[in-house]
Subunit: 351 residues, 4 copies
């Protein structure tokens, strides 16, 4: 099935992003869940909650474990979440002795939310790097063409001449703020989720906080108290994704309008038409607008899922699973296309 | 990449729908596009616009054609649409003589929009059948439990006793209206798209309307004038999908609330917990709520894409590609889960 | 407070619509609620459920009744709905004898939903009339300029010449379908809501259906069974509003792009700039785009409110109250502005 | 017209918020616009750009000015923005001499965006104060009932007992993060907008930056470069509003579910029913859910308006005007209702 344009055999060429997509394969999610289990077992062993030997066996088993994906699929259909079956398979692969210490004191949400945070952290690094490259590209364009005149348009009407540099500033400056936002989120908002059955770490006695800190440290995440029904970090991150793609959508829209007028931009690359051989379509620019509107659509659903009832809402949580990965992909694709577009700009402004 | 929950190796077990998904593989889309090309060539041959032999060669070639998917992917990245490269591959497979009659008088949007309509038509049939099954299930539940008392709740407070039949009516009746809506859409709104480069069928001379009628008849679609920048049919269909999943979300929410209270419903199946062996979670009911909220989120983007500028908006059209297939999948999954849920209801109301 | 742009002392000049707004004053809502109470009493008297004299007294009192708005406001804050206090005030104005027959067998939702349907019906007539006027305007423009050449643009690039008539067709044709949709909704979907406390008309004995039919007939609404937790009619109507404003947004976007290029359209009217005296901004065209995107945003929330739990969801219902009236206003404003814009078109295409 | 539930004569009792609404009257906006004009004139006089006497006359006139609202309304309909007419009225009131220095070097967007920021700043203070009160309320509830047992629910099923304090933590902790977010936004993101016709302060020569700094300092806003087509600050603020109302929606949903079960919460206040005298509806709790979903709907449109083309998009900007004030009101109402609700909690958990 190729229902998603982001992973579609041919639409993926336009709208996908391989580098971002690597964090959202089933294999990558399983690997992140195993990293959590391993860090948990290790921290619990150090806290004297489970035998050291069991933690070592778990670490070893996690390294070698190959999930039975068909089994995970059937069980997710039944349980609404993959973790019970993953834990069962993991226990089976490890044998009853150490196996009984798998997943000790944890719950599905600990595994899945932490595995998400681990990958979001890597995504933040990727996006920060790309924003840095974009910044450099815009500065280079500014160095080349910034001094040239450009007609300003307000309310879609010619206003007064500005410079190309003024316009480039309107594209580049928001990205600087987005980098600050992303850095802040990465440093302070990507927290481990560890709470146990109902958020109270009831099985860890007085070692709960210490174990949480140790696991967070091992995984490079913020050691905050459990947040399983507090989804503001998720909705905030989604909003930030949409800010990024929204600003890039403005860049795309501006380039498409320049390309329509035809006199103040020169682009290389660009798309062919099946009916008109003479046309060269500003494909990346238009895709940036589409991706901005896509994320602006999705962000609403992640704000809806803030209404996450009681200790865990199956429906609000499942809604996140449907919405967040495509938003991350769309943002990755948006950054990729913006870089492609800046590099295809041969000229800006009146020479 | 498994970015979409609908086609994810294990989340797909919960949220996917294989039967619906068959219409949204790349292969299914290519097949539908070839069906269009074949019908177009045939109609144009009958109208004397291209040689009959060429049309026969095209029909034959379309039957045997295997696309080079990697080539389609690269070209879509460049052109923003798959058709120019698909046409090129098709021409190559058929040779220059008949090849020059491939895609004659058509444009990318004719191929893609018509190929979409062909599959939407089949999806309507599938959904109508499932709505019929659901209707039967609800009537059966009504026959079994309809006479029993049920506490009505208004504003989340116990109100007065009603009957189980009253509640089932609130689940079943909207589905009856949805069937009428779907039947009307299927009969009158799924139109062929055939307009050529800018919608005027400029290359077909005075045969434009006749060719359009012939292609529509062959493909079983409504023979309306081109609608390439008039996307109301798409947004209307998306709205209808969300009406369906929304009504099923109400059913899911009601079952989840009944299951929470615990005394007026008995369910079989249902999900296990990784931390609490005693629990049986109303997984399908919760997923119905999530799918309803998913579609309610997406529908906004398809209404945004009504602002489809000029003769073809690359950005508004691309936005549709990202939004509509997941909505169709979500609706298919919603119907599948609702059928699963009705069949897992062992008892409703106070016995 | 002027929080709404639609009723704002000066923004209302741009974005409001007086004629539509008349149906959404508090006074208009109270009047519609009284019309319901009167028709209900009359039908119940005819059915022998309440004394004829009481119904006459009620009819008379409803004609003269002036609500204490401050009292309604305080009570709505407390009760979450205006009806209990409105009924109390009405009873007080009529005296205890007939007063006890006020609101007999009905519930808040009966009063409010029916009062909404009554006004939606009038709104449909208003919008149908305006769509008819727009159709005439477009036909007139077509008669004047339809034969002229116009450059088609696909993907924001010049494609091939079409005619002005082709472009006008893309603006006019969807409106024809919207008229059909509105007529169908008006004829078959605007149903009375009459169900009593939990939808079962429990207090009307075997006269429930007869009373419902009589009230519906009196009020000119469809006599459907109660639909208090089945909100598909509301979400469908909202979707249709957004289809209308979306198609007009495409018209606005096209005019704004034509005005930017500057050679193929000539407009009268249009806005001044505070900084640049030479500019003439295509204000109505831009407002049409904004209104389209506004409705495309709102429609999502009305689909969210399809998840209307149990016999009455306070939260889903309240959400409708916040979303639907502004959507109706936005659609009215959109039609008003489209008419203004068509009449300000002095020339289209190359002369 | 009472199209907005927030300023509706009786719905406003439930959904409005007088204190927040004060910042969104037409009068408050005009006053903020005049504050901008005054600060601008003052700074320009100090920079030697306009005569000191003219600045004094302007300051004096701004203090006494009473706008002709009907005139503003007509002109906004024509110009799409109120500023040209406001400037004209202001000039008329002040006479030609000083009048020609009104609005010097500025443009509509400078006036309106800065006037918005001034009021957003006050709104932030109001919301911070309310979040502080809510924090105190939750701490008090925790002190009273925190030690009591409460049944945790995951996926709408009883899980294991937790404490009331655990649940209160899930309500209170996100608000702490929201306060930090609001403080950060207030300190660093509420920037003056001052750019002139096309953002380049073309008429201020080399004094542009100095004047901007002086105006920002006078008005208590951040002295950032013009951001007229960079709307990330607006969309970020809107996202934050929705984070706040979303977290409060979770609180409301939890209380409504507790009230439905009926054993672990005791509420005073609460709403009456028109049909069932025995009911006490959790009105504020339900309204919190509705307001959360309202804002989650609106936030999408403010992200759409990030695609703000060229130097000023009439359509994207107008869209903000329709969306942001209602979101601010909804957030204010949400905070007001949450405070009302915490104070109506008589008991939580099993005693």
């Amino acid at each position: 099935m190729s229902v998603s344009a982001f992973s579609h055999p041919y639409l993926g060429g336009l709208l996908g992003d391989e580098e971002t997509g690597r964090y959202f394969t089933a294999e990558a999610e399983v690997a992140a869940m195993l990293a959590f289990e391993r860090a948990r077992a290790d921290a619990q062993a150090k806290a004297g909650l489970i035998p050291v030997a069991a933690a070592e066996r778990i670490a070893h088993a996690c390294g070698a474990f190959q999930p039975d994906m068909a089994g995970l699929c059937d069980a997710t259909a039944r349980d609404g979440v993959v973790v019970p079956e993953l834990v069962r398979q993991l226990k089976q692969s490890i044998g009853p002795d150490a196996g009984k210490h798998i997943h000790f004191g944890a719950t599905s949400q600990d595994v899945i939310d932490t595995a998400l945070m681990l990958r979001v952290k890597q995504v933040c690094s990727l996006f920060l790097a790309r924003l840095g490259e974009l910044d450099a590209d815009f500065r280079e364009l500014d160095a080349s063409f910034g001094h040239r005149p450009l007609m300003a348009y307000t309310r879609m009407q010619a206003a007064i001449p500005i410079t190309v540099g003024d316009r480039i500033g309107a594209w580049r400056e928001p990205l600087e703020r987005h980098r600050e936002r992303l850095e802040r989120v990465q440093a302070s908002s990507l927290a481990i989720q560890l709470g146990g059955a109902a958020g109270t770490l009831d099985k860890l006695g007085d070692r709960g906080a210490a174990v949480r800190l140790a696991v967070a440290t091992e995984l490079g995440l913020v050691a905050a108290p459990q947040w399983q029904s507090q989804r503001d970090r998720i909705a905030e991150f989604a909003s930030l994704l949409s800010l990024v793609s929204g600003s890039l959508g403005k860049f795309g829209q501006d380039i498409a309008l320049l390309a329509q007028a035809g006199e103040e931009v020169e682009l290389s690359g660009g798309g062919g038409s099946s009916a008109m051989a003479h046309k060269q379509n500003p494909v990346a620019a238009e895709a940036l607008v589409a991706l901005a509107r896509f994320n602006a659509t999705q962000v609403s659903g992640l704000h809806q899922s803030l209404v996450h009832e009681q200790e865990r809402s199956g429906s609000a949580w499942t809604l996140e699973w449907m919405l967040l990965p495509p938003m991350i992909l769309a943002t990755g694709a948006s950054l990729r296309l913006a870089l492609e577009l800046t590099r295809n700009i041969r000229s800006l402004g009146a020479s």
